[in-house]
């Protein structure tokens, strides 16, 4: 019995599933991380993922090719990011309230548009989504090939987002400005840089990444769109950002950890479903996430200016 539980870990299918489940979380976490590093909490994440999922899917359903669908998802995410930044960065509105508003609005308008488009369908129609690509040579490796090198292009793209965000945040003048905007915006202002502009751009890029996370669900995982399909992944990403201490490399670790637990619980259900109620296993990833959060959050250090609007020319 114990051996059965351990055997899951050497099963290539388990690792492949972990990679797949991690993708939307990874993209969303990196997106949220970008926003928060700039000092803006983006609770619109759940809705932005949802509308990204819908727009990406719809574009392909209407006949666009897959890469156009991905672009469309990123663009709608960026647009909602601009709305969020408009309210929170330029008008200094509450980031919590604005974010939740955007989540409610974006997920509803997405589903509304979907219904207008397909008023009568009861079973969600499917599109021809991204197909697995075997990476030459590597995919032929025993175990590793099946686990890591037989995925869709979107999956590889999601993992490439990690070096992209690492480069952007740690190697470019823009990334430096983003980090300062979230730590002490006055330090940017004192060097003659437009704090509001930097924050807005970071929120736009971050929101585009979130929308890609949503689009992964409809374009590489389920191949269909239905209401409520994001199913809390956005909120998990918000927690993963804290777990990651706002560092992209640790965001990768967090996303993989959560995805691994999720992939594991499905298999554990099959092994022990007769003895332990399956709800117990469903609960496990969340429970262990809370434990991981408690451990990780002890040493964590928030960006100091997170949640604080910046206004020019005010007496401080």
């Amino acid at each position: 019995m114990i051996f059965d539980f351990l055997e899951v870990l050497v099963n290539a299918g388990f690792w492949a599933a972990t990679i797949r489940i991690a993708c939307p979380l990874l993209l969303a976490t990196l997106g949220e991380l970008m926003c928060e590093r700039a000092g803006v909490l983006n609770l619109g994440i759940e809705g932005i993922m949802s509308i990204g999922a819908m727009v990406g899917w719809t574009a392909v359903y209407m006949g666009a090719d897959l890469s156009t669908g991905v672009m469309a998802a990123a663009l709608i995410g960026a647009a909602f990011g601009l709305v969020h930044a408009g309210f929170t960065v330029y008008l200094g509105a509450s980031q919590h309230v604005t974010g939740i508003g955007i989540t409610l609005f974006a997920s509803s308008i997405g589903y509304f548009a979907f219904r207008l488009l397909l008023p009568s369908s009861t079973t969600p129609p499917k599109i021809t989504a991204f197909q697995p690509i075997d990476i030459p040579v590597l995919s032929d490796l025993p175990f590793l090939g099946e686990a890591f090198f037989q995925h869709t292009a979107f999956t590889y793209l999601a993992f490439l987002a990690v070096p992209f965000v690492l480069w952007l945040m740690n190697r470019t003048p823009f990334g430096l400005a983003v980090k300062v905007a979230g730590e002490n915006p006055m330090a940017l202002e004192a060097q003659g840089i437009d704090v509001l502009g930097v924050r807005t751009l970071a929120v736009i890029i971050g929101s585009a990444l979130m929308a890609l996370g949503g689009a992964y669900l409809t374009m590489s995982a389920f191949d269909a769109f239905y209401f409520g399909m994001v199913n809390g992944r956005g909120w998990i990403a918000v927690a993963l950002v804290i777990f990651a201490s706002w560092r992209p490399s640790k965001a990768l670790l967090g996303a993989l950890l959560f995805a691994g637990l999720d992939a594991y619980q499905v298999r554990a259900q099959q092994l022990a479903g007769a003895i332990v109620p399956y709800q117990f296993f469903l609960m496990m990833p969340y429970l262990l996430s809370i434990v991981a959060m408690v451990v990780a959050a002890k040493s964590t250090r928030y960006p100091k200016a997170l949640l604080t609007p910046f206004r020019r020319g005010e007496r401080h």
């Binding site: 330090a187 060097q191 020319g313």
Partner: protein, 506 residues
């Protein structure tokens, strides 16, 4: 040749407050101009206008003969103006080098180049005597290091005119001297410097010319060589002001005694207390001196019940303290004036009146049955405290954070003194205050002393310690020296002890 900086007829108001009225002056290359004035005289506002943080209502700023674009720090930087703000504009979670690079490269460049910057930083540091580690993180640096970084940032941008806003406010005397040396090097290499301060002694030491501001207006402009200290002092406040003088007074029985107190090592690099013995009698002011971080903060915490010693006894009025909580110490008659008055003394977003009665939750006069706050009584109590201590405010309902530092301190002292405390623990009580407020604080402490209270005065300002204390101890690395009588010490010995002389080898 036109002057480096020419400011003409600057006028700025915030609502009904006139921060600057018709201010004009010039600065030339190779000179230090000092701008003197009390808190709230409009010095910082003026600098923020020159640097482009604020838009002036009227007036112009010209740099080397060309008018600066208004309200744009970038224009000021490009014209060669650098500003070191009183509250540092550093990102604490980044390195020195990263902080220096902010804003020096186009945001659209795909790669941040660091090699040249590192070399330039080293060259500048060397040239002006501003020692720094480019890879150190800002949150692990001392105030002095942070300031060196701020100056290096401006030099890195090739600044020709450096504005320093209250640069010595939180520096040790040694750090201030180092700063002045660097300023002289900059001036001799052709930079112009504007230094803002309310410390007369320093200004006379470092500046070539002095402008005095009061209530937003220029009230005087003199060459430092011709300046008279007393005259300047009167110009600043508009009337004669003198610090109170300590006279001998009677001492009573010990009010608070520490016996062999040790505290736990903290995570920060601050020293923990090691075998501290201290007795403070009624009618006595005990001065505690030391370089910041040598255990003064822990001592204050133990004395006020905020910290629990790992061993040793605290005896208050002959009774051993059993419980180490702020509440039990307060009830035993301890008042605590914290070092960080803005964060530990007041609740900035609560009103002046609420802050004035914050310690009185147990006072049946102010808090009725069912824990209902008796608002009108609280307000009148607060008004009494404020008028007795000359706390000036626009409305008693305004948030306390909008008060000036001096008024916040007077409010805190008034709040504690309304409880008639027998033991007063005052940490850096006059740090960052202007001359009027300082003499007010000193007067209050001396009044408490002649009323029979025991006062522990923890300060890094030697002049203050020597002026007020009956007895003095020096702290070094968590150890305390024996107490000296004030009249038996000389400054040289104190300075040596502050550097560790006379403490057993650690």
């Amino acid at each position: 040749m036109s002057p480096l900086l020419e400011v003409s007829n600057i006028r700025k108001s915030f609502g009904s407050l006139h921060a600057n009225r018709d201010i004009s002056f010039t600065v030339n290359a190779g000179e230090v101009l000092a701008i003197l004035g009390e808190n709230g005289a409009g010095k910082t506002t003026l600098m923020n206008i020159i640097f482009g943080h604020y838009l002036a209502d009227e007036g112009t700023v010209q740099c080397a003969g060309r008018e600066l674009r208004r309200g744009d720090p970038r224009a000021a930087i490009d014209a060669g103006i650098g500003m070191v703000h009183q509250h540092f504009t550093l990102a604490e979670n980044l390195t020195v080098l990263e902080n220096t690079l902010i804003g020096t490269q186009s945001l659209w460049r795909p790669m941040l180049s660091t090699g040249d910057a590192r070399r330039k930083l080293f060259t500048l540091a060397d040239q002006f005597g501003l020692e720094i580690n480019p890879d150190g993180y800002v949150n692990q640096m001392s105030v002095g290091e942070k300031q060196r970084l701020e100056i290096l940032k401006t030099l890195f941008n090739d600044c020709r005119l450096l504005i320093l806003d209250e640069p010595t406010a939180s520096l040790t005397p040694q750090e201030s001297n180092g700063l002045f040396k660097s300023i002289r090097k900059m001036v001799s290499s052709g930079l112009g410097v504007i230094i803002i301060s309310h410390k007369l002694n320093e200004i006379i030491k470092i500046s070539d010319r002095i402008i005095v501001l009061r209530a937003g207006e220029t009230v005087g402009s003199v060459r430092t060589a011709d300046a008279n200290k007393r005259q300047l002092g009167e110009m600043i406040v508009g009337q004669k002001i003198s610090r109170p003088v300590r006279r001998s007074s009677r001492m009573f029985a010990p009010k608070i005694e520490l016996e062999n107190i040790c505290t736990r090592k903290s995570k920060s690099q601050v020293a923990n207390l090691k075998n501290i013995d201290l007795t403070v009698r009624g009618g006595e002011i005990m001065g505690v001196v030391g370089v910041a971080g040598n255990g003064q903060q822990s001592l204050a915490e133990v004395l006020s019940g905020h910290g629990r010693p790992t061993s040793g006894k605290v005896i208050i009025k002959g009774v051993k303290a059993l419980e180490y909580t702020p509440m039990s110490f307060m009830e035993a008659g301890v008042a605590y004036i914290p070092e960080d008055r803005n964060n530990d003394g007041i609740v900035g977003d609560m009103s002046v009146w609420e802050n004035a009665v914050l310690t009185e939750t147990g006072n049946a006069d102010l808090v009725g049955r069912m824990a209902m706050v008796r608002t009108s009584r609280c307000r009148s109590t607060a008004e009494k405290i404020c008028s007795a201590n000359d706390v000036r405010f626009q409305s008693i309902n305004q948030p306390a954070r909008l008060l000036s530092g001096g008024n916040i301190q007077k409010l805190l002292i008034g709040r504690w003194f309304a409880r008639a405390p027998e033991i007063i623990v005052a940490c850096q009580p006059s740090r960052g205050l202007d001359e009027g407020a300082i003499s007010g604080v000193h007067r209050s402490l001396l009044a408490a002393r002649s009323g029979g209270a025991a006062v522990v005065l923890i300060s890094e300002d030697l002049d203050e310690i020597l002026a007020l204390s009956d007895n003095i101890i020096v702290m070094y690395d968590g150890y305390g020296s024996a107490a000296f009588e004030n009249r038996n010490v000389d400054i040289a010995t104190l300075g040596m002890m502050m550097a560790g002389d006379g403490f057993h080898a650690v």
